[in-house]
């Protein structure tokens, strides 16, 4: 039976959680990984592995992905959630602290012929830095306007 878009995406996520080295079962060789500022743009599977997957694993160990909701519409799927991980390698100039941190993310995937062809991503690097004691917005973030953080707001660390 042909796999659904979401099944393909879920299998890929489980493989990444297991830190499977070869991801070619899930991604086309020339897939595009396009993320927010600070994370970059990876053209193709090799670049994704070299310039995202490996440095991410180097900085953050014992990763657990807590995805809160998945959505599927045709050949697109999307999800949001956070990764819980241990800061065990240097991250953006900050030496390992051993802290357990939460890394919020949103992902969109476009699937073609059973594999991911495009991955649009937001990973909240400023949230990581904030948990490591560094406010990149130097007090000017709009979270300073908030009354109180919402309950169960997985994406918010205000």
């Amino acid at each position: 039976m042909q796999k659904t878009t979401l099944q393909i995406v879920k299998e890929m996520e489980q493989a990444l959680e297991r830190a499977e080295v070869d991801c070619s079962d899930y991604f086309h060789d020339d897939f595009d990984w396009i993320a927010n500022f600070g994370c970059g743009t990876k053209r193709g599977l090799e670049e994704f592995e070299r310039a995202w997957y490996k440095p991410f694993r180097d900085a953050f160990g014992d990763r657990h992905f807590a995805t809160e909701h998945y959505l599927e519409d045709g050949n697109w799927a999307a999800c949001f959630g956070h990764c819980e991980a241990t800061h065990h390698g240097e991250f953006m100039g900050i030496a390992p602290t051993g802290k357990r941190i939460k890394i919020p993310y949103i992902d969109f995937w476009r699937v073609e012929n059973g594999k991911i062809a495009e991955n649009r991503v937001s990973v909240d690097f400023p949230a990581i830095l904030a948990q490591l004691g560094h406010d990149i917005f130097t007090g000017k973030g709009w979270d300073k306007l908030d009354s109180a953080p919402a309950k169960n707001a997985s994406l918010s660390f205000a």
């Binding site: 180097d58 994406l155 918010s156």
Partner: protein, 179 residues
């Protein structure tokens, strides 16, 4: 059929909490809301959002509890910093009570933003959204708006050269994990 399959595998586990019959209603609310925001409506935007809705943004954007905080602590500062805003979804997905989109807002930097005086520059403000719609109104909105990218377009790097784009451009060699 000669045999009965007693233990059929459970189907559609990932979407079992989603009421697919609600997809059309969700679509109507989200489309109306996007048009409403593009028309710069603030005071009557409650047509699309429930009073107690939660807007949960990424670091630098914050969490807005309820419509009033969304208007006061998101819409107003946004309109103070940016004008002539146009919102363009690049992909939009619907599934039951849920919708998701990513895209960009194009706007003019016409007011102070993160301490940067107005430059008059046209900027791209990239975003990703997840919405949950119940009884015709948005009750939850999870959001990531790329403020560091906006600041970069105004000439400042909030990551001080530590962004992983340096790996993409070959300016730095990424580490290789042992695990």
């Amino acid at each position: 059929m000669t045999t009965m399959n007693k233990t059929r595998p459970e189907q559609a586990i990932l979407s079992r909490d989603t009421d697919i019959s609600k997809t059309d209603e969700t679509k109507a609310v989200i489309e109306g809301m996007v048009d409403g925001l593009n028309d710069h409506r603030i005071t009557d935007i409650g047509e699309f959002f429930s009073d107690g809705f939660k807007w949960m943004g990424n670091t630098g954007c914050g969490t807005k509890n309820g419509l009033k905080e969304f208007q006061e602590n998101w819409q107003k500062p946004f309109q103070a910093a940016f004008s002539e805003k146009v919102c363009i979804d690049e992909a939009r997905l619907y599934m039951g009570e849920w919708a998701a989109a990513f895209g960009r807002q194009e706007a003019i930097h016409s007011g102070t933003f993160m301490g940067i005086e107005p430059t008059g520059k046209k900027v791209e403000i990239r975003y990703m959204d997840f919405w949950k719609v119940v009884n015709g109104k948005i009750i939850d909105n999870w959001v990531m708006v790329d403020f560091p990218h906006v600041v970069a377009q105004l000439g400042q790097d909030l990551f001080n050269g530590e962004g992983w784009e340096t790996y993409d451009r070959g300016e730095k060699e990424p580490p290789r994990p042992e695990n």
